[in-house]
């Protein structure tokens, strides 16, 4: 029996029970739309996590001296020629920078705190780290020779200091001796209350190197256009930087990476659970559709329809309704994603969201591959749900059926 005819038959059968099939259609549509929105929310969360991990000074890749991660001191620094430039093509890399990051103690007139002091080149930093995006009260750092200091709002409040005042920085120099120097506060950056604000202070890289008595840097951070260039860029960096560690953001921030991977699995689990919840209704409806048509199937069989064609017809019916609901659900889901394009406000849970690696606005992020996976799962559900009803349809004996 030609497939076209079977399709036509199944299609008309669906319309014989409009109301029942409309309900089924609506249920599947709601589930699919919810899956699309949910999937993009989880992806949005993942995006935030990766962005945070990458922009919070990690970069996609970072070059460190061996041992620096365990003991972040200037003793574990490395030399970099003035004209150094990573051997990564421009169309793969957004930017890169060198930094000096050392533990330090900052003292105001009233308070003392332990921090990480980072010497940066603000021009290079602008393209690649969160420093460009945060609001600064007062002034940002001008250039790599700026000898003022940029503090987090939160840290400044703890220190009870303000823009224009002086703080004293104490840290260990390259020769192992303690150094002390006064820094004027250029500005206060607002990283929306994140832990960064409390623990990172920034100054120009050159004055810091001078204070520490070295020309070395402690890290080179590279921001790529896409994380998929990570492997090749890693190879290029490892080749140039013999003896140094080249780490990707997953290694630098294993907790964020673990969250990221769990979310991957989480999406599929939710898809499967929601689709399973649909399976009961779908099977129910298909079985009823088969049992209502016992005489009809008997007749068709008596007229010479192959058992295989009966099976195909039931499967097509199931796939048809799921396919249409899938299409509708994707349209509605995409609409919902567009509706929430500005993000969902989580500021009431800001601290909790931060702990979970999220920002205070959750912006959904639609990925075509997720929709395809969802589609494949939905079609698989349609086939799975039609298995038993189709078997029931095949078991119908033409003679018995016609006698009813």
């Amino acid at each position: 029996m030609p497939l076209r005819l079977l399709l036509q038959l199944s299609w008309r059968n669906l319309w014989r029970h409009r109301r029942r099939n409309l309900m089924l259609f609506t249920a599947i549509l709601v589930a699919i739309a919810a899956c699309v929105l949910l999937g993009s929310l989880i992806r949005g969360m993942q995006n935030d996590m990766m962005k945070d991990a990458v922009e919070n000074l990690s970069g996609n890749l970072k070059v460190l001296a061996p041992g620096y991660r365990e003991d972040p001191s200037i003793e574990r620094a490395f030399a970099l020629t003035e004209d150094y430039r990573p051997d990564i093509p421009d169309d793969e890399m957004i930017g890169w920078t060198r930094r000096v990051r050392v533990p330090a103690v900052v003292t105001s007139e009233r308070e003392t705190r332990g921090i990480s002091l980072v010497g940066v080149d603000p021009g290079e930093e602008r393209a690649i780290s969160f420093l460009a995006q945060v609001d600064v009260r007062g002034e940002p750092l001008a250039d790599a020779d700026d000898d003022r200091i940029l503090l987090g709002v939160e840290l400044a409040a703890r220190l009870d200091t303000a823009v224009g005042r002086r703080v004293v920085i104490m840290t260990q120099g390259a020769d192992g001796r303690n150094r002390e120097a006064g820094f004027r506060v250029a500005g206060l950056y607002d990283a929306s209350g994140t832990a960064l604000e409390k623990s990172y202070a920034f100054t120009g890289i050159h004055p810091l190197q001078k204070l520490l008595g070295t020309n070395d840097v402690t890290e080179v951070s590279v921001r790529l256009r896409d994380d998929r260039f990570s492997a090749s860029a890693n190879r290029a960096l490892s080749k140039e930087m013999g003896g140094l560690e080249v780490l990707n953001w997953r290694q630098l921030d294993p907790q964020a990476a673990a969250f990221y991977e769990i979310a991957d699995v989480g999406i599929t689990i939710w898809y499967v659970i929601l689709l399973l919840a649909l399976a009961f209704g779908l099977i129910n409806s298909l079985i009823t559709a088969v049992l209502e048509r016992v005489r009809e199937f008997g007749m068709l069989r008596a007229l010479g329809m192959r058992p295989r064609a009966v099976v195909v017809q039931v499967v097509i019916e199931s796939v048809l309704i799921v396919a249409f609901a899938l299409a509708g659900g994707i349209v509605v889901g995409v609409g919902l994603v567009a509706f929430f394009a500005d993000g969902i406000d989580l500021s009431n849970y800001a601290a909790g969201a931060e702990l979970a690696g999220m920002r205070s606005r959750l912006v959904p992020h639609l990925i075509a591959r997720d929709v395809m996976v969802l589609g494949a799962l939905a079609v698989a559900l349609a086939v799975f749900a039609s298995a038993y009803p189709a078997w029931r349809a095949v078991r119908i004996k033409p003679l018995d059926a016609l006698r009813r």
Binding site: R19, R20, M23, L24, T26, A27, V30, A31, A34, L38, E70, D71, P72, S73, P103, A104, V105, R110, E111, T112, R113, G114, I115, A157, R158, M170, Q172, G176, R177, N178, P254, Q255, A257, A258, F259, E261, I262, W270, I273, L274, L276, A277, L278, F280, G281, L282, I283, N284, S285, I287, T288, N348, Y349, A350, A351, G352, A353, E354, L355, A356
Partner: protein, 433 residues
Amino acid sequence: MPRETLAASDTALPTPRLHRAGGLGLSGALAWRNLWRNRLRTTLTAGGIAFAVTLIVAAYSLQGGAMDAMADHATQLLSGHLQIQNPAYADDPSLRCLVPDATAMARALKSVPGVTAVAQRAVGFALVSVGERSYGAQVMGVDPQQEPAVSSLANLVVKGRYIAGPDDALLGSVIARNLDIDVGDEFVLLGSKLDGSVAALSLHVSGIVESGSAELDRTLVQVQLAAFQDEFGLGDQAHMVVARVSDFEHVGATLPAVEAAIAPLGTASVVLPWQRLMPEVAQTMQLKRASSLVMLSLIAVLVTFSIFNSFMMTVFERTREFGMLLAIGMRPAGIIGVLQIEAAWLALLGAGIGLVVGGAVMTATQHVGIPLGQMAGELARRFNLPDRIYPPLNVGAMLAAPLLMLLATQLAALIPALRIRTLAPVDALRVGA
């Protein structure tokens, strides 16, 4: 008592009530039998309900278990279940913001029923130096006798032992490594006293601790409370009085008693429950609850759709039967009643299966525990979870889920059933004839 005697002795019992009682019993039996006229459909619909109930019970038990484990574990590390602090300390954790009469305060707190452990703590920032190396540290003055009852740090000592004497110090593993010192080595602690002059303590490393929190391991130094109070000029003042209560879930209920107990001391101190001490943990719990509520409602809605569909099919198929019943004088309300009872049986059946399955799975899980695995291990560290969680069965969910499904089923059955009101017996009898 024989039946006749009862009937005879209670002549006031009106006959209509007897009828109605008999009617209800009959309807119940009728509904139950109707349900099994389409075995497959009933099984599948009940299966859907069971699926939803199982999922709700499992999800809430798992989540409740994970959350309680997370929160209680987080409180164990340092913060305790509640703390008494100077009202300004939360916003400005500086040396100046003190709780006066800390010893009296601790004694008053200890007397509150339900409070199992109390410890005073003084906290300050200081510089720890060994030779030319210096790092900033969070120094805690703790009472070595009281402290292990409120904080798990004492059990997390990986080398050496907990502090005992006035020149002992416990260091976080990272700060010890950064300073390049080990158990037995000497170091100097430099800070500023309450009056602004220099405070200096010469200490010995008695133990090294690995808390699992990178922040803490990098900054923690614990010393004896009395030594800290002496050197920093605090007298009998501390920064916090930390307490644990017997039951984590009843921290909130203990607060009024605690406030009443410390009121006679006449200080402006505040009592903060763990939710205020660790807002990020409390908020994560809220966020998780909100998101799982959305997901589970969605599943309940989807299952309701399928129940609705199932009843619509049932009502359609039995149009002739309903016409017959109407023709022989049954009221539409009576038929709707039977259908609603069918729906109730269905919900009870599904919910029963769901409770048994969900309960069995979660009881088994509770015994075996869920290993959080390597991937979740990273998360576990972030949230301070133990390696394996033993989620207790959530009794609330076991009550709420069946009720929810009963309600949904009643609603899903009522809409198609209302058609019967407009059914004309003659037309109905002609259907399918």
